[in-house]
């Protein structure tokens, strides 16, 4: 939009009163705000979380977007049906799936390999929204670390182990979905 666009609404600068022109009230206002925070901080009221010693509190783990997990169905098999919709929705192209015919009689297609590059991921949660069977979910695990790039590429087993580690704390968003498979 250019400056001469008719949709631009032009506002005049509000005129300053004497108090504003004197600077003094605003100067004191600024200083008092600073001093108030200084005093509060010196009295111990800070928002800092001393991370390795203290764990941050995550208010709602169900909407937190941390490490992915691959959910299991009632029989403990991977719930994913390898439809590639998460890979399609992914804006960072961090999901790589190799689909194959499933080894189970009641399921048709399953992911032979399901890899999420956690370093490439931007944690937007679109995979979670795209999944028709609620198989991929973002957990509240935030402390994702590794010593190499390879280590941060999570394969199917690792993603399933995230499920095993978090399912007690964070239930699946919808337990009954996923009967297409």
């Amino acid at each position: 939009m250019k400056a001469d666009d008719p949709r631009v609404k032009w506002l005049d600068v509000p005129p300053m009163g004497l108090a504003e022109k004197l600077y003094l009230p605003l100067v004191t206002h600024g200083l008092t705000t600073t001093l108030r925070h200084l005093a509060a901080a010196l009295a111990g009221k800070t928002v800092t979380v001393s991370y390795p010693e203290e764990e941050p509190q995550i208010d709602n783990p169900l909407i937190y977007r941390g490490v992915h997990r691959l959910n299991r169905d009632a029989e403990g098999r991977v719930k994913c049906v390898a439809c590639f919709l998460c890979a399609t929705a992914c804006p960072a192209h961090c999901i790589d799936i190799v689909a194959a015919e499933s080894p189970w009689p009641d399921r048709e297609k399953y992911p032979a390999s399901f890899v999420v590059d956690e370093l490439r991921c931007i944690y937007c949660g679109m995979c979670e929204q795209a999944c028709p069977v609620d198989a991929i979910e973002l957990t509240s695990l935030y402390n994702l670390t590794g010593c190499s790039r390879e280590e941060m590429v999570y394969d199917k087993e690792k993603l399933l182990s995230v499920y095993d580690a978090t399912i007690d704390r964070e239930p699946m968003r919808s337990a009954d979905a996923g009967e297409t498979a």
Partner: protein, 408 residues
């Protein structure tokens, strides 16, 4: 005899430089701590004694920072002017330290100086009794402009050059109000000697009370000279990615950063010495004459250093309180606000001093009356300037109608 003078000066030099370097390092820590507190954070609190878990609340941070900078690569980009690039930080640091030659860090010691042989006590200033101390400080601190502009020019980088140019313009512009703010004190004290000025205040009242307008002008100018917020245009990370020291790294960057803190200490020391009574404390704790015992001498050092420290804390608080000036606002503040105020202050002081001298109005009663007159003038001048509003300029994008374009 000469050896004694040299020895005495050397000892004091070592004390001052050592104290300043250490002080600046810990001021960095204080700055970060203050920033954290003002923002409801804790601040650096991890670095303590190396190889142990003892953290000392972060007191090891300056040491760790210094070591880190020492071990960093001191990189010289290929496109710079190597001589000037190396010269700039050295020049600016030397100038900053040199200013402290005449700035007292106490009063006197009750020891007869062997240097002069006159039996005078040892002065707590590297070069005692310099008649032109104020002029010297101004002259030396002006050299800082060279360091800044050399750094900006030698870096051969548009941001650095812009930072250097802004900085030189700013420093030159604020030299004038600073000088005018000071002129009243020179008139009132009748001396350019900083030790003498403190003694006069101890005897006849602090100049912050007697010359409020001069104090305002001088403090604002001192902030600008030290390039502290709200006047940190030479660096302004937001626009110039560090300004004149963008291309510097490692040890040479450290020299620039150290110099900034030295400038702040200089400015704070000058404010304290010129306006806040130096080592003097009302109530008789520090006395007001050269006759002083060991306790009094030490108390004076503590009071002076304490005052400087408090002023520095104010410097740091101001940084988090007010937004930065735009460049044109900075300039109009200097030329349209501070310069007139400084002139008014000088005239007021001259007239009041002439009145005091002509009618021999001595004593606390008259002093209070004259101070009241000065405060009155100060209030009137400030209000008048606010109404005239010369500092307000609006350079936002304008909308031209077609007719205006045709005519204009």
């Amino acid at each position: 005899m000469n050896q004694a003078i040299v020895l005495e000066a050397l000892i004091k030099t070592v004390i001052v430089i050592g104290g300043l370097a250490t002080g600046a390092a810990y001021l960095v820590l204080l700055e970060r701590k203050m920033a954290a507190w003002v923002q409801d954070r804790i601040g650096p609190n991890r670095a303590g004694i190396p190889l142990t878990d003892i953290r000392l609340g972060g007191l090891g941070q300056p040491l760790a920072d210094g070591l880190k900078v020492l071990f960093k690569e001191d990189f010289t980009p290929a496109h710079v002017d190597r001589w000037l690039f190396t010269l700039a930080p050295v020049l600016i640091l030397v100038a900053a330290f040199a200013a402290f030659a005449v700035i007292p860090f106490g009063s006197v010691l009750p020891v007869r100086s062997a240097a002069t042989g006159t039996g005078a006590p040892v002065s707590l200033v590297i070069a005692p009794g310099v008649n032109v101390a104020v002029l010297y400080v101004f002259a030396v601190s002006s050299i800082a402009v060279y360091g800044v502009i050399l750094g900006g020019w030698a870096s051969n980088n548009k941001y650095s050059l812009l930072g250097g140019l802004r900085s030189s313009a700013q420093l030159i512009a604020y030299e004038l109000p600073m000088g005018l703010g000071l002129l009243g004190i020179v008139v009132a004290a009748g001396s350019l000697n900083l030790e003498e000025i403190i003694v006069r205040q101890a005897a006849g009242g602090w100049y912050v009370l007697l010359q409020p307008l001069g104090f305002i002008v001088f403090v604002v100018a001192a902030f600008a000279e030290a390039a502290r917020l709200p006047f940190d245009l030479p660096e302004c990370e937001q626009e110039l990615v560090g300004g004149y020291h963008t291309e510097y790294s490692g040890m040479r960057l450290l020299l620039f950063l150290l110099t900034e803190f030295l400038h702040m200490i200089t400015a704070a020391a000058l404010i304290v010495i010129l306006f806040l009574g130096g080592w003097h404390l009302p109530g008789g704790l520090t006395g007001s004459t050269d006759e002083v015992g060991w306790f009094g001498a030490l108390a004076r050092v503590v009071v002076l250093v304490g005052k400087v420290f408090l002023v520095i804390v104010v410097f740091m608080l101001v940084r988090w309180s007010w937004p930065r000036f735009r460049y044109d606002q900075l300039m109009s503040l200097a030329w349209k606000v501070m310069l007139p105020l400084g002139m008014v202050n000088f005239l007021t002081v001259a007239v009041l001093e002439q009145v005091r001298w002509a009618w021999r109005l001595e004593g606390p009663y008259w002093t209070a009356l004259l101070a009241a007159a000065a405060w009155g003038v100060c209030a009137i001048a400030v209000v008048l300037l606010a109404v005239a509003a010369p500092g307000v300029a609006d350079n936002r994008g304008c909308r031209f109608t077609e007719s205006e374009e045709q005519t204009g």
